[in-house]
């Protein structure tokens, strides 16, 4: 099912979720490694890769938001009000962060007056008019701070998903997993003693 249903995320939403998640993990690993490299052409290539993946994430997130807004999300799994509030807040924060993070990188790259190409295939325009040291410093700080905030929110998100799955034994995680639709049709009942 491409589209979301009452009880499950559709395969398009799932693909966006897991693809972006995987790219963000790769981005984090590349980002933390590349800043330690000495000034060699390898460093330049690794940075270029980080930028290309970041632009890809930005594009995917925009498409994902468009898809998310054009259709109904699955019905929320019954849970205490504080958990629902925490889930909604962290999902909203995750959307904001995965948009702001690549954007701050693009802004930093622009203000530093670095070239920008998507996998060497086409030129991506600068957001500034050349070098802007003040904006550059701000954007770099924002990029780093946003990254660690994202790490924290993702940690909460992953913990919550696993907690719902293994402790609450509800369908929160399963409905975002491909081909897991039939495995637990009545999970909440099974969880009851």
């Amino acid at each position: 099912m491409l589209r979301n249903t009452e009880t499950r995320w559709g395969s398009v939403a799932q693909a966006f979720h897991w693809l972006i998640a995987a790219l963000i993990v790769v981005q984090g690993a590349i980002g933390l490694t590349m800043v330690e490299l000495g000034m060699t052409p390898t460093k330049v290539k690794v940075f270029a890769l980080h930028k290309s993946i970041g632009l890809t994430v930005l594009a995917l997130v925009l498409l994902r938001l468009a898809w998310r807004l054009t259709q109904r999300a699955p019905r929320e799994v019954p849970m205490p009000r504080w958990q629902l509030a925490a889930a909604r807040t962290s999902h909203f924060l995750l959307y904001v962060l995965i948009l702001a993070l690549p954007f701050s990188g693009w802004l930093f790259n622009s203000a530093a007056n670095f070239p920008l190409e998507w996998f060497g295939m086409f030129h991506v325009p600068s957001l500034t008019r050349g070098l802007d040291p003040v904006l550059k410093a701000f954007a770099l700080r924002a990029h780093v701070v946003l990254f660690w905030v994202l790490v924290a929110v993702v940690a909460v998100h992953v913990f919550a998903a696993l907690w719902h799955h293994f402790r609450q034994r509800d369908e929160v995680l399963l409905r975002m997993l491909p081909m897991a639709g039939k495995r637990r049709d009545l999970p909440r009942q099974r969880a009851l003693p």
Partner: protein
């Protein structure tokens, strides 16, 4: 014999073409290179040019230019920090570039060309400038253009010699404001 003697007497007068003062505040020495598929512009903030030039007497014209290589500015902090390194300009060992003309000539289309020698990063090579001179009141402007190959001068050695990352061709443009 008589004519020869007369010419000989005239020689000291003709020996130097018109000498100009270069107005450093209004003169620029810029270059355009390519990096990761995009062109970028740089400039040398400090250079010293001696210009003897009279469009009617090219035989006596002479340019002599000293460039302070460490004054390079490409509007990118990281690149400007890397350029003085050993792999690029190696300014610790070669702080200055020197260009001096050897002769001036006119191309068939009338374009004035200045042949000379550029010494950059310890390598001397023949370089030809296209020269445009325009008198304006008591002063004049001089535009010179050429294209260099960075690898001819060993700029960007080792792994950096990959021209798909840093283009080999670098166009150089000088704009000199001349005062009498």
């Amino acid at each position: 014999m008589r004519i020869g003697l007369a010419l000989l007497l005239l020689l000291p007068l003709a020996a130097h073409a018109r000498e100009w003062k270069v107005d450093a505040a209004h003169s620029t020495l810029t270059f355009t290179g390519t990096y990761q598929g995009e062109s970028f512009e740089g400039r040398f903030k400090r250079f010293d040019a001696k210009v003897n030039y009279d469009p009617g007497d090219l035989a006596q014209a002479k340019f002599d230019v000293m460039v302070d290589i460490a004054s390079v500015d490409t509007a990118n902090t990281e690149r400007d920090q890397a350029l003085p390194d050993k792999a690029f300009f190696d300014t610790a060992q070669f702080p200055r570039a020197h260009f001096v003309t050897t002769r001036f000539r006119k191309a068939t289309n009338g374009q004035v060309l200045a042949d000379g020698t550029l010494s950059l990063r310890g390598i001397s090579r023949p370089v030809t400038l296209a020269v445009k001179f325009a008198q304006a009141g008591s002063g004049a402007t001089l535009e010179v253009d050429t294209t260099l190959k960075r690898l001819d001068f060993g700029i960007g050695t080792g792994d950096w010699s990959d021209t798909s990352m840093i283009g080999n061709d670098v166009t150089v443009h000088g704009h000199l404001a001349l005062r009498p």
